[in-house]
Subunit: 302 residues, 2 copies
Amino acid sequence: MDAGRLASSLRGGDRQALAKAISVVENDWAGAAALLKAVGPPGRAFILGVTGPPGTGKSTLVGRLVRAYRKRGMRVGVIAVDPTSPVTGGALLGDRIRMQAYAGDDGVFIRSMASRGWSGGLSRATSGALQLMDAAGFDIVILETVGIGQADIEVVAVAHAVLVVLMPGLGDDVQASKAGLMEVGDVYVVNKSDLEGADGMVVSLLGMLSGSKGRSAPVVKVSALKGDGIEKLEAAVDAVRVRFDRSPELRLHSVRGMILETARGDAMQRLERLSAPKADKLAKLVLEGKLAVSEAARMLAK
Amino acid sequence: MDAGRLASSLRGGDRQALAKAISVVENDWAGAAALLKAVGPPGRAFILGVTGPPGTGKSTLVGRLVRAYRKRGMRVGVIAVDPTSPVTGGALLGDRIRMQAYAGDDGVFIRSMASRGWSGGLSRATSGALQLMDAAGFDIVILETVGIGQADIEVVAVAHAVLVVLMPGLGDDVQASKAGLMEVGDVYVVNKSDLEGADGMVVSLLGMLSGSKGRSAPVVKVSALKGDGIEKLEAAVDAVRVRFDRSPELRLHSVRGMILETARGDAMQRLERLSAPKADKLAKLVLEGKLAVSEAARMLAK
């Protein structure tokens, strides 16, 4: 692979070059680092993180947003973060299939990326894919997670704005406060607005938001399935995008997030390489009372 | 703090000593390492991990199990892993209050522990609390997570057996296959059995389980709220406990998990100490095109 040529192809709008470049970065193939260096500095595209508990309809909502932005002539990239089973390591094809609805449109580029449960391997790949899509000239990159873990925290770290998707009728412990979502959203969406309790939920969210340090994130009620409320959501996101366009601090925040997540991914990768036989030997010594767990952990990491 | 004296008090059944010891370990106070060394090797208590998506009623189910085991005269410890907001850092009081129902019973010890979103700080604290409860002579320690992240993977790493709690009526993407839960359970619970679709879910789980490498984990339908099906669940868990009693390999697996999670926590703690001003400086250099993100990450970690 010629990193310089691949970088200039994808900057020129070559979709296949972009797809190949993301694979290089996702799989950490030789030349990945050179490629990310060759595409140049990030900071043009608006990165919209979409997070929230599983089952709230994030993917459907992202589909609505993609269509809405396309109507306005914007080029839209989507990175859908799939959780990969820690045991089988297999990627989930469901999302990929669902996303093929836009396959014919050159202004849309969608990529599912597997998050690697144990290792935090997501970080570097996601951060890399974001840089590549940014270089490829997309106006907006939507970063969607499935809402079950570490990936959501990473989205907050690298996004310019975060859209938190909730729905009525989930148990208390599914809701935003528990997952730490009340502090991270720039826009809150109550999806499935035809379900009972939607209005009550909007009220309670507004109450919680006003209670937390005077934040005033908007709460928008939508039905992603029916398409209700999408214009209002677009307007709310637009208001945040205006802030982004004016704020070098937001761009800095995102790049800082990419650096930190990459450092985290590096550290996890080092840990993953730790020898399993060595861990077994140390575990035996711990069981025999010859070593404390913390001592064994230090010896393992050495 | 005299680590040796505190260790011997908690081994003698002193609840206040145990509570204090867990605080020492949770907050990583001076003497934490000495204390964990002084309590001696782990390996006596049966560690039952309880995981599954949020909202499936894990806490209520754990309450049922605690009562059931107490009736049989077993001493039960519970560690409920709370997610802490990455922003406020505050612990969630809800679980703690709920758990006070058993406060008068000396055979039950319940502790909520905050998981620290960014840092993986959960690992070391949970692993330490497990060692302390084991040393305090509990027959069974139930490790309950809220099902929204990294903590669940850690539960699988250190538990002797894993109980996966699901419920009918959640969207496809909430379910076990996506979260990698189909590979990790020793017993599957379909909770809220009075909801529509419970039987269908049992059938589909059995189908998925038989499809995955000949595993034969039982699927038990319960209503934790009403108390239906709890005896069947007890019997299913008992069958796994018998395996544990006979298997030195299972004990080894758990200790290996504690070592790995502790090493992971150590690495995350080192990353957390990274200087924020340095990250800002590096982010500026990246935005100016003078440094790639991966180079900045390496420089930050140094």
